[in-house]
C-alpha cells in the first residue's frame, strides 16, 4: 500500500514520503482494589508528506479501505501543499533497518492471563501491606509496527514491543489525602511487580509522619522523578531546535560555552537497548544516535528534525519525531543525565542538616519555561533533618530558576534510575532554593 501511495503522490509532487503505523494494545486496569476493565485496541493509519512546487503538504487518514481513500489522502496533501511552508530539507536516501533491540517476542507472547497475573501480583502486594490502601493498577502490552518509505529510496521498518506496569495508592485520613504511584515500562518482558509495589510502599512509609518547614531558602534534593518534573522542563524546551531557531532559547547563542556546573552532562540517546525511547531511525528515516547536549557543563548541541535543521542552517540530529497526523518536529528519545560521584540517595540525604527532598511536584510545568523560572507545589516531598527523612511536608512550594540552580550543583548521585521509561538520571542536590509554606 505504501508503494501505491508513493507512486500516486509522485505523479503530482517532486518528493513523497509515506508512513504507515499499526499497533495493538492490551491494557488491563484495576481500580479501587479490584480488576475493573480489559481493553483491546487496534489502530492503524497512514500519513503522506509531499513537497510540491517547493512547498510541504501533509495528509493523514485512518480510513484505508480502498483506492478512493488513497486518492483522498493524496488530494488533501496536495491541497495543503498549496499553502504549505517552503521545504528546506532533503529526505535520506538510505534505508535504515536495525541497530537497536526494541522488540522482544516474549512481550508479544504475553497473554491476557499473564497480564492479569502481573497486575494482580502488584495489587496483592500493596493490599497486603496496608488494608487502608485504595489501589489502582494498570498492566499493559503494546506491539507496534512502523513502515516508512520515501521517493528517494530512504526509509525504515521496525517493530517495537512495550510492556508496562503502573500502581498507585490513595490513603485518605480525614481531609489528609496521600497519593503515591510508580510506573515501570520496558521493551522487554522484565517489568517486576515486586519492585513497583516495594517502591510505592517505601514512599508511603516515609510519608506517614508530617513535618513542618518554614518559609526560607534551603537545600533542595530532587529525586530523578522530581528532577524530571522541575529543573529538566526548561532544559527540554531550551535544547529543542525549534526554540533555538525562534531565538527563544536562553542557550541559543551559547553553543560551546560553559553554562552549567562541570558535574552536569546531558545526552539525548536513541540507541539504548530495551528503552522505550529507542528505535533504529526517527520518523523521517534518519538513524538515531547519542547526541551530547551538555558535556561537563558546556553546551554542545541542540536537537533537530530535517526541516528545522534546514531553516536553522544546523546539522540534523535524527530527532524528527511526529504524531502520525502532524509534521516531524524535534523530539527527545531517551534523555539521560550522566551520574555523578556523590553516592546513593541515602548518602546525599546523610549530608544535609536541614532541607527537603522533592519527589512529585504539581504545577511546575505551567510557569514560564523560556526564562527557566519554575515554581511548583510539592505534592510529595519530605523534610530532611540531621541527615534523615523526618516526614512528609505539605502546603509547600518550591521555586527557582533552572539556570541559576544548575550553575552550582551541590551533589549529583552515582545511582541513576529510569523515570517513565525515557528519562534516566541520578538524584541532584541544589544548595539553596526558595521554599514557601503556609504558616500555621
Amino acid at each position: 500500500m505504501l508503494d501505491a501511495l508513493l507512486d500516486e503522490a509522485r505523479q503530482q509532487a517532486e518528493v513523497a514520503e509515506a508512513l504507515y503505523h499499526e499497533s495493538t494494545e492490551l491494557p488491563i486496569s484495576f481500580e479501587a482494589n479490584r480488576m475493573k476493565s480489559i481493553n483491546a485496541s487496534q489502530s492503524s493509519g497512514m500519513a503522506l508528506r509531499i513537497v510540491k512546487d517547493g512547498r510541504i503538504g501533509l495528509g493523514y487518514s485512518t480510513k484505508l479501505d480502498g483506492p478512493d481513500d488513497l486518492d483522498t489522502l493524496v488530494a488533501s496533501a496536495v491541497e495543503s501543499a498549496e499553502f504549505g511552508a517552503e521545504a528546506r530539507f532533503t529526505l535520506p536516501s538510505a534505508y535504515t533497518a536495525n541497530g537497536v533491540t526494541i522488540f522482544d517476542p516474549a512481550v508479544e507472547a504475553l497473554a491476557l492471563d499473564d497480564l492479569v497475573t502481573l497486575g494482580t501480583t502488584a495489587l496483592d502486594l500493596l493490599r497486603d501491606h496496608d488494608k487502608d490502601f485504595l489501589c489502582d493498577v494498570g498492566a499493559s502490552r503494546r506491539v507496534s509496527r512502523v513502515e516508512l518509505r520515501n521517493s528517494r529510496g530512504g526509509g525504515t521498518a521496525y517493530q517495537k514491543s512495550v510492556v508496562s506496569l503502573g500502581g498507585s495508592i490513595n490513603l485518605t485520613r480525614g481531609e489528609d489525602i496521600l497519593d503515591v504511584w510508580h510506573y515501570a515500562v520496558s521493551c522487554r518482558a522484565d517489568v517486576d511487580a515486586q519492585a513497583v509495589a516495594q517502591r510505592i510502599i517505601q514512599r508511603v512509609e516515609d510519608a506517614r509522619e508530617t513535618a513542618t518547614v518554614t518559609t526560607k531558602h534551603m537545600p533542595v534534593l530532587f529525586t530523578p522523578q522530581g528532577l524530571g518534573a522541575t529543573l529538566m522542563l526548561p532544559l527540554r524546551q531550551a535544547f529543542n531546535g525549534k526554540t533555538v531557531l525562534q531565538g527563544a532559547s536562553p542557550l541559543g547563542e551559547r553553543l560551546g560555552e560553559q553554562v552549567f556546573d562541570e558535574k552536569l552532562s546531558i545526552y539525548n540517546d536513541g540507541t539504548i537497548d530495551h528503552a522505550v525511547g529507542s528505535a533504529p531511525a526517527d520518523d523521517e528515516g534518519m538513524p538515531l544516535r547519542r547526541t551530547p547536549l551538555v558535556e561537563d557543563g558546556y553546551v554542545r548541541s541542540f536537537i533537530y528534525d530535517l526541516q528545522t535543521a534546514g531553516l536553522a542552517g544546523a546539522e540534523p540530529t535524527g530527532n524528527g519525531e511526529r504524531s502520525p497526523n502532524s509534521l516531524p518536529a524535534p523530539g527527545y528519545h531517551n534523555a539521560v543525565i550522566a551520574p555523578g560521584t556523590d553516592g546513593s540517595l541515602a548518602d546525599i540525604i546523610g549530608g544535609i542538616d536541614e532541607g527537603i527532598l522533592v519527589e512529585y511536584t504539581m504545577g511546575a510545568s505551567m510557569g514560564n519555561l523560556f526564562s527557566g523560572d519554575f515554581s511548583g507545589n510539592v505534592l510529595l516531598g519530605y523534610k530532611i533533618e540531621h541527615g534523615k527523612l523526618a516526614g512528609r511536608v505539605k502546603n509547600t512550594m518550591v521555586a527557582g530558576n533552572t539556570y541559576d540552580a544548575l550553575k552550582n550543583i551541590a551533589a549529583l548521585g552515582s545511582e541513576p534510575e529510569w523515570v517513565g521509561g525515557s528519562f534516566y538520571a541520578p538524584p541532584l542536590l541544589v544548595a539553596d532554593l526558595s521554599v514557601s509554606t503556609r504558616e500555621g
Binding site: A40, S43, A248
Partner: protein, 452 residues
C-alpha cells in the same frame, strides 16, 4: 450504519453493550514566528465496543470498522474475565435521535485559502509590536459524526463541530523572557475567530509589558482572581472533586463529599452545564447516550450534587447527569466536566480591591492542576495590590492551596461574569476534552503564592 450497529447488538451475553462509530475530519494551520509551519487535514474512521458483565468492563477499539458482531463478542468475553460482582448502571430511557450540528458559520464551508489569509493577518498584528521574540498561532476546526447504539435500545446519530484559534506570544529583553496568550473557541460559529485583531495585539503588548514585572515574594496573601482565573479555579479546585468516579469507590472521600456539607459562604454557587450555547463543552448527548443538562454542585455554599456516568450514578443511587465523555472512539468514556462556572454574586470589583491592603490581583492563566486535596495554577498576568490600589506588575505568579480551606476563604463573589473565550482543554486519565470555564471576579482572604 444503523442496521450494522443494531444487528451487532442483537446477540450478546453481556449485561450491557454499547457501540460507537465515529467519522471525523479536521484541519489545522500552525505558525511559528512569522512563518507558516504546518497545514494539514486529517480524516479518521474508527469505532469501539464496550461491554459490562458482572460489574466488569471489556472494551475493544479499532480502525477497521468490520465484523462488529465479533467485536461485541470479544468485548463481552473480556468483561466476563473481569466481572466478579454486579453490573449497576443507572436507568436512562433509551433515546432515538438524530442531532445535526447547526453552524451559524460553518468552518467546513470556508475555503482553506481564506482561513490562511485570516491567520496571516493575526501573525502580522503580533509582529507589529516591538520586542516580540516569537509567537505561535494555531487554528483548528473539526467536524465529528458519531453513531451510537446500546443494548437498551438507544440509537443516536450526533454531529459536533468545533473551531479554535489560539495565540501565544513570547517577548524578550536580553535574558528576560515573558509570554502571553489569547484564544477563541466555539462549537457553532467560525465568526468567533474573525475580527480579533485588537485582542491579539493586546496579548502581544501584555507579553512585552510583563518584561518589566518582578517576581512575587512568596507567602500567604489576599488575592483577587479575574473571571478567567476564577473559572479555572472552579474547574480545578472543585470540579474534579465533584466527578463521581473519584468518589464512588473511595469511602473516605465520600465522607468528605457528603451532600449537604457546607463548603463556602451563602454567596457561593457552582454549576456544570452541557447546554451553554456556543461553548466547546456543550453537546446534546454524552458518550453513553445520556442527555446533558445543568447540574448544580454548590448552591448557597452547600454541596448539592456531583457529576456522573451511568455507572457512578447507579452505584451511588443518584441520577445520571450526562458527564460521561470519551476523547474519541479509541477510549472508553470517563466522568468529565462540561462547562463549569462560579455564578455571579453581588460585590463590585472596586469593593473587593478596597478590602486588600497587601495582596495580588491575578489575571488569566497558563494552566492548572489538582491532586484532589491540593490545587495549583499559574497566572499569566498579575499585579501587586497595596492599600486597595493596583501597583507594580508581577511575573511568574503561581497560586496553590488546599481546596477545602480555599473555598472557605472565598470572601466575596463579583457581580460581573465571563466565560473564558479561549475555551479550555482538560486532561484526565490520558484523555483530553474541550471544556468551558467561567466566573465573576473572586476575592480570597488567604492563598499561598509561590515566589523567590
Amino acid at each position: 450504519m444503523r442496521e450494522r450497529i443494531e444487528e451487532a447488538l442483537k446477540r450478546h451475553n453481556a449485561d450491557y453493550v454499547e457501540i460507537r462509530v465515529e467519522e471525523t475530519k479536521s484541519t489545522n494551520i500552525t505558525y511559528r514566528g512569522k512563518d507558516l509551519e504546518e497545514v494539514g487535514t486529517t480524516t479518521q474512521l474508527g469505532g469501539c465496543v464496550r461491554a459490562a458483565v458482572n460489574g466488569g468492563w471489556g472494551f475493544v477499539s479499532f480502525n477497521r470498522v468490520e465484523d462488529l458482531g465479533e467485536k461485541v463478542a470479544q468485548a463481552a468475553s473480556q468483561a466476563r474475565i473481569v466481572g466478579a460482582e454486579k453490573t449497576e448502571l443507572a436507568d436512562v430511557a433509551p433515546v432515538h435521535d438524530v442531532v445535526h450540528v447547526t453552524m451559524r458559520r460553518d468552518p467546513g464551508a470556508v475555503p482553506l485559502a481564506e482561513k490562511k489569509r485570516l491567520m496571516d493577518s493575526y501573525v502580522e498584528e503580533i509582529w507589529r509590536t516591538p520586542k516580540i521574540q516569537t509567537s505561535t498561532v494555531r487554528y483548528g476546526d473539526s467536524y465529528r459524526k458519531q453513531y451510537f447504539g446500546n443494548s437498551t435500545g438507544a440509537y443516536i446519530e450526533q454531529e459536533r463541530g468545533r473551531v479554535t484559534a489560539h495565540f501565544g506570544v513570547v517577548a524578550r529583553d536580553n535574558g528576560n523572557v515573558q509570554q502571553a496568550r489569547a484564544g477563541f473557541a466555539s462549537n457553532e460559529d467560525y465568526g468567533v475567530v474573525e475580527g480579533k485583531h485588537a485582542e491579539v495585539r493586546e496579548a502581544a503588548e501584555k507579553a512585552v509589558a510583563m518584561l518589566d514585572a518582578t517576581p512575587p515574594k512568596g507567602g500567604e496573601f489576599m488575592v483577587i482572581l479575574d473571571s478567567t482565573l476564577a473559572g479555572v479555579f472552579a474547574h480545578e479546585a472543585f470540579g474534579h472533586l465533584s466527578e463521581a468516579d473519584h468518589v464512588y469507590e473511595n469511602d473516605k472521600l465520600r465522607e468528605i463529599m457528603v451532600l449537604g456539607r457546607k463548603f463556602g459562604g451563602e454567596f457561593l454557587n457552582i454549576a456544570d452545564s452541557g447546554k451553554v450555547p456556543g461553548l466547546t463543552g456543550s453537546f446534546a448527548y454524552d458518550d453513553e447516550g445520556v442527555p446533558t443538562g445543568k447540574q448544580y454542585l454548590i448552591r448557597e455554599g452547600e454541596l448539592v450534587g456531583r457529576l456522573h456516568s451511568r455507572e457512578t450514578a447507579g452505584k451511588m443511587g443518584e441520577t445520571p447527569t450526562g458527564n460521561a465523555r470519551a476523547q474519541s472512539y479509541r477510549v472508553p468514556p470517563l466522568v468529565r466536566m462540561r462547562n463549569t462556572a462560579i455564578e455571579p454574586g453581588e460585590t463590585p470589583l472596586e469593593d473587593m480591591l478596597a478590602e486588600v491592603k497587601d495582596g495580588v490581583y491575578c489575571k488569566n492563566w497558563y494552566g492548572g492542576q489538582t491532586s484532589m486535596e491540593m490545587f495549583t495554577f499559574s497566572c499569566m498576568e498579575a499585579y501587586a495590590i497595596r492599600d486597595g490600589k493596583l501597583a507594580e506588575p508581577l511575573r511568574g505568579v503561581n497560586l496553590s492551596g488546599n481546596v477545602f480551606t480555599t473555598l472557605e476563604n472565598i470572601v466575596a463573589v463579583g457581580n460581573d461574569f465571563a466565560w473564558d473565550p479561549a475555551g479550555g482543554t482538560c486532561g484526565k486519565g490520558g484523555q483530553s476534552a474541550p471544556v468551558g470555564d467561567g466566573s465573576p471576579h473572586v476575592l480570597i482572604s488567604k492563598c499561598l503564592v509561590g515566589g523567590q
